[in-house]
Symmetry: C2
C-alpha cells in the first residue's frame, strides 16, 4: 500500500492540472472581452466551448474519484494536516457536484443558457418580457432539476439551498431570510432619515467633463493606492476597458477592467477601487497554496466584502477624499478645482432610491438584493411562477424602494443573472456588505487610527491587515467559519448597519 | 459498413477539435508576448506546458489513427473529392510524424530546448560560445535522433531532408543546394555592382526622430493600405508591440506585432508591411476550409514569399513611396519634410554587407541564409561538429559577405533558431524570396500596370490577385505544386534575380 502522502500527492497533481487549465481559460475569456478583433467572435465561441468541454472532462476524470477514495479510506488519512484535509474535502465536494449531474442535463442547461441570454437581450431592447418568458421558464425548469440533484449530493434542506451553496458554502435560504429581515429594517430606517434630511447633496459636479486620458491616469493612481501593482516590472495586474467592469485571473496574473465615461468620471473611479479590492484578494491568498483548491477565494460573498470594503468603506470615506481630491483635481487640470471636500464627499455618497441595482448607493443597494433573493427563493419553492415575475417585481420595488417601474427592461429584465441561470448568486452581494461591516469593526479594534492613515494616503496598514486576516486564508474555511475566525462572531448585520448609521448621520446631518 | 463520407466526417470532427485548440493556444501565447503582467511568467509556463501536453494527446489520439484507417481503406475512398483526400493526406502525415516519435524523445527535446535557449541567452550576453556549446551539442544529438526516425516515416533520403520537410514539404537539401548555388552567384554579382557604384545612398535621414505616437498611426495607415483591417467594426486583426515582431492567429483573428524606435522609424514601417503580408495570407485562405488541415498555409517558404512581397517588392518600391512619402511626412509633422522621394527610396534600399541577418538588405539577405543552410546540412550529414561552428561561421562570413566577425554573439549566436532546435527552417527564408520573384513575374503578366496602381495608393488589385492565386489555395498543394500552378514553372531563381538586377541597376545606376 502506498503511503497516504503519496496518494495525496498524486491526487493533487491531477487537481493542479485542472487549476492551471482554468487559469489559461481565464486568459482566453479575458482576451475576448478586451482585445479580440470583432470578426473573431464565432471562432472564439468554438474555442471557449471546446475548452469548457475539456475542463469538464478533466474535472470529472474517474481517476480523481479513484484517488479520492484511496486517500479518504487510507488508514493513515488522519496524518494529513488540516490544509491537506481541506483540499481533499474541496476536491470531493467539487467532484461529487460535477459527476452527479448527468452530462445531458449539464449540456442542456448550457445550451438553454445561450438561448435565454440571447432572448433576454432582444426582449430587453424591445421591453417585452413575454418574448423572454418561455425561454426563462425552460431554464428555470432545468435549473430546478439540477438543484434537486445537487440537494441530494450536498444534503441541503431544499433545492435552492443547493444553489446558494455553490456561491456561499453552507449558507441557507432560511438563514439569509432571517439576516435579510434585519438588514431590510435597518436600511429602510437609514433611508428614511436620509430622505427626510434637509441636507441633500448636490451631484451636478459629478457630471463635469473629465477626458478619458486623465481618467486612465487616475485609475493607475488608485490602483497604486490600493497596492494593486499594474505598472512596475514586478506587476501582477493590468487595467483594461470593457462595458461591464470585472476582475479575472489567478495569483500572479489578476486583471481588472473598467469603463471611462467623459461625463461621469466617478464611474471609473469607483469601479477601479471595487475591482482592485477583488484583485488584491486573489493575489494575496497564501502563495504556498498555488495550484491547490485551498488556494482560491472563500466565497462570492467574501469576495464582495473585499471589493466593497475598498470601494465604499475606504473609497467613499471623507478621509480618502481628503487625501485624493487634490490629486484628482490635478489630473482633471482645472475642471474640478472649485469643488470643496465636503460637497464632493456628500455627492459621492448621495442616497436615493433608484430602479437600477448597479447604480444604487450603499444604503439602498441591499434592498435591491433582498427583492431578488425573495423572488428566487419563492420561485424555487414553487410559490410563484415565472409568469408572475414582472408583477411581483414591480410590487416589491414599490414596497421596498417606493419607485414605480415603467417597463420590464428597467425592472425584472435589468440584470443578466437570471438569463444566465445564475440563481443563488444574488444574496452574495448583500452578504458581502454585511461581512465588510464586521470586518470594519475588527479593523477598528486593531488599527484605531486607520482613518487618519487613509487621510495621509496610507492604505498599507489596512491592506496588510486584510491580507493577514482575510486574503491569506483562501478557501481554508467556509465563510461562516472565516467570519467567526476574523471577528469572533457569527454573521451579524449590526456592524454594517452601525457603520451606515454613523456615516450617513454625518453626511445627512441627522 | 458506414459510408466513406460518414467516416470522413467523424475524422474531420476530431481534427477540427485539434485545430480549434491550437487556435486557442495562439491566444495564450500572444498574450504572453504582448499583454501579460511580468509577474505571471511562471504561471504562464505551466499553462503553456499543460496546453501543449493536451495538444499532443489530442494529435496522437489513437481514434484518429483508427478513423484514418477506416477512411483510407474504405472501398469507396476514391469517391472523396480532391480537397477531402488532401485533408486525409495531411492528417495522415501529421499523425504519423506525431505518433512515430517516442514520447520520451519529444519530452527530452522540449526540455533540452528550454535549457539551450536559456544558455544561449546567457552565452550571447557573455559572448562565450563555450558556455552554449555543451547544451547545443545535446540538442543537436536529440534532433538527429528525431530526424532519423522522421526520415523513415517520411521516406526521405537523409535525416536533414526530414527536418526541411516540416517547413517546406517535399523540398530536399540536394535541391536547395542546387538552387542556392545559382542564387549565390546572382546575389554576389549584384552585390558587387552595388558596391562598385559611385551612387551610394545617404541613410542619415533614417535616423531622424519620429515619436512613437505618429509611428503608431503610420502603422495603422500601412495596414489599411495592405487591406489588413485592424480598426473597423469588422476587423479581424490588431497591431501590438513586442521586441521581435511576429504574426499569429487563425482566419478571423490574425494579429501582428511590431516595435517602435524613435530614432529608427523605418524599422516599424517595414516590419508592419512584412507582418501584414503574413496576416492577409492567413486571413484569405478559402473560408470554407476553416477547421480543416487544408485551411492552413502551404509552407513556411510560401508564407515568407507573401510577407516579402508586401515588404520589399511593394513596400520598398519607388511607386509605393511616391504615394506614401507625402503621407509619412504629414504624420511626422515636419521632421521629414525636406526629404526627396529619390533620396528616400535609395536610403531604404541601401545594399551593404552586414553581420546581422535580420538587418540585411534584399540582396545580401540570401547570403546569410545560404551560410546557415550549408552549415545545418553539413552538421546533419556529420561532416562538421558543433565545436567547429564558430570557426566555420566566421570563415563563411568572410567568404560570402567579406565581413569580419569579432565575437560569437554577432556571429554564430546571433539567431535563436538553433538554440530553439529549429533546424531545417532557415532555407524557407530564401525560398520565400525566390517564390516572391516568380510570383512577381506572374503578377506583371496579369496586371501590367500594377506599379502605376501602387503609385496611386491602390494595392487592391495586387492583393486580390494574391488572394485568388496564392492565399485561397491554403494547403491544397505542396509548395512545388503550388508554385507551378501559379507560374507554370518549377522553383526558379531567375525571376527573383532579374527583379533585383532591374531594381538595383536603377537605384545604384549600374
Amino acid at each position: 500500500m502506498e503511503s497516504v502522502e503519496s496518494d495525496y500527492r498524486r491526487l493533487m497533481e491531477k487537481v493542479k492540472e485542472l487549476l492551471v487549465f482554468q487559469s489559461a481559460e481565464f486568459v482566453v475569456y479575458w482576451d475576448m472581452e478586451t482585445m479580440m478583433p470583432p470578426r473573431a467572435i464565432n471562432l472564439r465561441s468554438q474555442q471557449l466551448a471546446l475548452l469548457s468541454r475539456i475542463e469538464h472532462k478533466m474535472s470529472t476524470d474517474p481517476e480523481i474519484g479513484r484517488l479520492l477514495e484511496e486517500v479518504m479510506r487510507h488508514p493513515k488519512y488522519e496524518e494529513l494536516d488540516a490544509v491537506q484535509r481541506r483540499n481533499v474535502y474541496l476536491i470531493k465536494k467539487q467532484y461529487d457536484e460535477q459527476t452527479k449531474l448527468p452530462e445531458e442535463l449539464v449540456a442542456e442547461i448550457a445550451k438553454q443558457r445561450t438561448i435565454t441570454i440571447d432572448k433576454w437581450k432582444k426582449a430587453k431592447a424591445a421591453k417585452e418580457f413575454s418574448m423572454f418568458r418561455p425561454e426563462l421558464e425552460k431554464l428555470v425548469e432545468l435549473q430546478k432539476k439540477a438543484a434537486e440533484i445537487l440537494m441530494k449530493v450536498k444534503e441541503t434542506k431544499n433545492p435552492y439551498d443547493a444553489l446558494i451553496d455553490i456561491y456561499e458554502p453552507k449558507m441557507t435560504a432560511e438563514n439569509i431570510t432571517k439576516i435579510f429581515g434585519e438588514l431590510r429594517e435597518g436600511l429602510v430606517s437609514i433611508l428614511k432619515e436620509c430622505e427626510n434630511s434637509s441636507k441633500q447633496p448636490d451631484i451636478n459636479m459629478l457630471k463635469r467633463i473629465v477626458p478619458i486620458d486623465p481618467q486612465r491616469k487616475i485609475a493607475k493612481a488608485l490602483a497604486e493606492f490600493v497596492g494593486y501593482d499594474v505598472t512596475s516590472k514586478e506587476a501582477g495586474g493590468r487595467i483594461d476597458e470593457t462595458e461591464h467592469p470585472f476582475t479575472t485571473g489567478y495569483y500572479d496574473d489578476v486583471r481588472i477592467t473598467t469603463h471611462y465615461h467623459e461625463d461621469y468620471f466617478t464611474s471609473s473611479i469607483f469601479s477601479v477601487l471595487h475591482e482592485a479590492g477583488h484583485a488584491i484578494y486573489e493575489q494575496n491568498i497564501n502563495p504556498e497554496w498555488i495550484y491547490q483548491p485551498v488556494g482560491t477565494a472563500c466565497s462570492s460573498g467574501f469576495h464582495e466584502s473585499q471589493s466593497r470594503f475598498v470601494e465604499n468603506i475606504v473609497g467613499r470615506s471623507p478621509e480618502f477624499w481628503s487625501y485624493f481630491l487634490p490629486k484628482l483635481k490635478e489630473y482633471a487640470s482645472g475642471t474640478l478645482s472649485d469643488i470643496s471636500l465636503d460637497a464632493f464627499v456628500r455627492a459621492v455618497n448621495q442616497v436615493k432610491p433608484s430602479k437600477i441595482r448597479v447604480e444604487a448607493d450603499e444604503v439602498t443597494y441591499g434592498l435591491h438584493i433582498i427583492i431578488r433573493f425573495n423572488i428566487e427563493r419563492d420561485l424555487f419553492d414553487d410559490k410563484i411562477t415565472v409568469k408572475e415575475l414582472p408583477e411581483i417585481w414591480n410590487q416589491n420595488y414599490k414596497d421596498y424602494l417606493e419607485v414605480k417601474i415603467e417597463n420590464d427592461s428597467e425592472g425584472v429584465m435589468q440584470d443578466t443573472h437570471w438569463a444566465s441561470g445564475s440563481f443563488g448568486y444574488f444574496p452574495s452581494y448583500a452578504l458581502g456588505n454585511i461581512y465588510s461591516g464586521q470586518i470594519l469593526a475588527a479593523v477598528e479594534k486593531d488599527l484605531p487610527d486607520w482613518r487618519k492613515q487613509i487621510e495621509k494616503g496610507n492604505f498599507t496598514n489596512v491592506r496588510n491587515w486584510l491580507v493577514k486576516n482575510v486574503h491569506i486564508y483562501g478557501n481554508l474555511y467556509d465563510p461562516a467559519e472565516l467570519i467567526k475566525k476574523i471577528t469572533k462572531e457569527d454573521v451579524n448585520v449590526k456592524p454594517f448597519l452601525d457603520y451606515l448609521q454613523r456615516k450617513y448621520a454625518m453626511i445627512y446631518e441627522f
